[in-house]
Amino acid sequence: MRVVIAEDSVLLREGLVRLLGDAAIETVATVGDGPGLLGIVEEHEPDLAIVDVRMPPSFTDEGLRAALAVRERRPGTPILVLSQYVEERYATDLIGGGAEGVGYLLKERVSDIAEFIDAVRRIAAGGTVIDPEVIGQLLGRRRTGDPLEALTPREREVLGLMAQGRSNGAIAQDLVVTEGAVEKHISNIFAKLDLQPAQGGHRRVMAVLAYLGRAAA
């Protein structure tokens, strides 16, 4: 697997390269700013681009904008955005053009190496990985007459895990219930939120995120 990295902190960049190298993931190119990302993506056509949100020259959401540009110019390029802070607005921007092969994680998740590598592989394979904190924010925000109010606490939990891209089996394991129970919860959630029941991992995530993103936008 070949990745490119856009990260301005040399320390973190070299750390990432080594960490990925240990897991037999090859880093083919790195850049230290946002605008450079598109160039190396077009040059190397990697399996995944890892991007830091805050980079020069503006030190605001440079990396996010670069990621969106990549998604627009080369749709289908899997992208993992790392951020010091998670903000739901960044997440909804990012999945606005489709959640396939999109990841958005707190930078510090890098230190849980096994989980991080797993996330990298899932995104490269077209999956969706969204930081639990973002999901928490999306679920935490409330509006009057919000259909989310109709969900039971357990259903909210299941919705949060679904949005993170977990499979039914993983959700069942997390909540210590049977897969059948999870399926029942999910069909309840889809009915209450008026969503089209969707099969398969990322399409389901997309439906949920699109719903949450719509509520937050």
């Binding site: 805050r54 605001t60 959401d61 010091q84 802070y85 903000e87 739901e88 607005r89 960044y90 510090e108 230190s111 928490g136 924010q137 999306l138 679920l139 935490g140 925000r141 409330r142 509006r143 009057t144 937050a216």
Partner: protein, 469 residues
């Protein structure tokens, strides 16, 4: 953070007000020459209908002033004429100087008195126009300042001309009120005078008893209305003259306003500086107590692990696990701290997403409604954000609320931020506390913060911030 105390169940804590309620909407932006202060009636405005004028106290105080002011006029005329000629005549032998100084102090006192009287009689405020007195206690310095002040000499002109003015006013009102009185009380005159020849235009008759004189009283009512108008007109003229001669001129009025504004700004700057200092201390404390201690613990764990590595690899592994967890906690803490100093999303995307993020992290459901046509200046956004952050933190800590709402809207020239919860109420913005600090920050941009939290709730924290900062 969050030193907002909650007086739950205790004696009724009054709604706390923090910030500068007077500074933001009042004084600084107030109009110039309109009668300020107490909202009492003035001859300048108020209804012109005779019935309303007859009921208004200011008509009668005006009439009273006009009736007695001739005495003041005459008194000042004599005092000034005698005093001035005496002191000017004695200038040659130097006695004139102290006499003149005494007279000047006297007429300035007279002018002050006259301002009070004009205000009491006509309801027209005439602010003191004098230059500020020097700090010095030296009477000569003070006298020189008085003599150099044009207002002192305008006082003299006013008091000197008060006699002819009040004479005219007195004669005019004596005629109209005398006529009014005579006609109105004709029945009584007839009763005690034993009859009178009545002459009403075409109609002429001999009135022998009070009832026959009643039509005259009716005419008197009409004349009364006329007398009220004459009094009103005289009062307006007198008040205008007094304002012209005794009040500050346009540039003085402006000066005065600027001085008030300067004082207000100085106070708010001091509050802002204090708030910034407080904030720096808080950051230092948070860094010291939080991330620094955690990293120290991590360093110790790693140091111990290194020492154990050969003899006790299993123990070393445990210590490394512990250190790993410790670094993650330190990162989280640093991140929260950095966000508390300035949230990156606020610069990037503005208030709506930043507040949504805050709401999402709050432990109770928070409804967010941001309705701003355009992004306010960065200082306003930042203060608005931190007010919401502090309010939500307080709600989480003390309010025992089950839900809260945040509203940000543009109202006229103001960005209004309102955080409401359904909790226990009784919140007080304590000096030195988080909310008081935010009120100070709001004051630096001429905004204000109000906490309204009756015991039992609901609590409303509202900030009005100018969006033209």
């Amino acid at each position: 953070m969050g030193e907002l105390s909650r007086d739950i169940g205790g004696g009724g804590a009054p709604p706390a007000r923090a910030g500068t309620p007077d500074g933001a909407h009042g004084g600084a932006h107030g109009g110039g020459a309109t009668p300020a202060g107490g909202r009492r009636a003035s001859v300048m405005d108020g209804s012109w209908r005779p019935a309303a004028m007859a009921r208004s106290a200011v008509s009668w105080t005006s009439a009273l002033y006009i009736a007695v002011s001739l005495a003041f006029g005459l008194g000042w005329f004599v005092t000034l004429a005698v005093g001035l000629s005496l002191s000017l005549g004695l200038l040659i032998v130097w006695v004139g100087f102290p006499l003149l100084a005494l007279l000047m102090v006297a007429w300035r006192f007279g002018a002050r008195l006259e301002r009070r009287l004009v205000r009491a009689a006509f309801g027209v405020a005439v602010p003191d126009p004098y230059r500020p007195m020097p700090e010095s206690r030296n009477p000569f310095v003070r006298l020189r300042t008085m003599a150099a002040d044009p207002a002192t000499w305008k006082d003299l002109v006013y008091l000197g001309l008060l006699f002819p003015l009040t004479l005219v006013e007195f004669v005019l009102s004596a005629i109209v009120w005398g006529l009014t009185g005579t006609l109105l009380f004709m029945p009584l005159i007839v009763l005690f005078g034993g009859g009178m020849e009545i002459n009403l235009g075409q109609v002429t008759y001999w009135s022998g008893n009070p009832v026959e004189a009643l039509p005259v009283s009716a005419v008197g009512l009409v004349v009364l209305a006329g007398a009220l108008y004459v009094t009103r007109g005289t009062a307006i003229a007198h008040a205008a003259w007094a304002r012209l001669m005794l009040g500050p001129n346009a540039s003085q009025a402006e000066n005065r306003e600027l001085r008030q504004r300067t004082a207000h700004l100085r106070a708010s700057r001091a509050r802002g500086v204090d708030a910034a200092e407080f904030e720096r201390r808080r950051i230092e404390r948070d860094l010291h107590d939080g991330a620094q201690q955690r990293l120290l613990a991590v360093a110790m764990d790693i140091g111990r692990a290194r020492a154990k590595l050969d003899q006790d690899p299993e123990g070393a592994r445990e210590l490394i696990e512990q250190a790993h967890a410790g670094t993650k906690e330190a990162i989280t803490e640093l991140r929260d701290l950095a966000r508390g100093i300035y949230p990156a999303i606020l610069t990037d995307r503005g208030l709506d997403p930043a507040l949504s993020g805050l709401a999402g992290r709050a432990p109770v459901p928070v409804e967010v409604d941001v309705d701003l046509p355009e992004r306010p200046p960065a200082a306003v956004e930042s203060i608005a954000y931190f007010i919401v952050a502090e309010a939500l933190a307080n709600i989480a800590k003390y309010a025992r609320a089950t839900r809260a709402s945040v509203r940000v809207a543009r109202e006229d020239r103001w960005v209004v931020v309102e955080v409401t919860d359904n909790g226990a109420g009784g919140a007080v913005a304590r000096p030195g506390g988080g909310l008081a600090g935010l009120a100070d920050r709001a004051a630096t941009i001429d905004g204000m913060l109000i906490v309204d939290s009756p015991p039992g709730g609901p609590t409303i924290v509202r900030a009005d911030l100018p969006c033209t900062w």
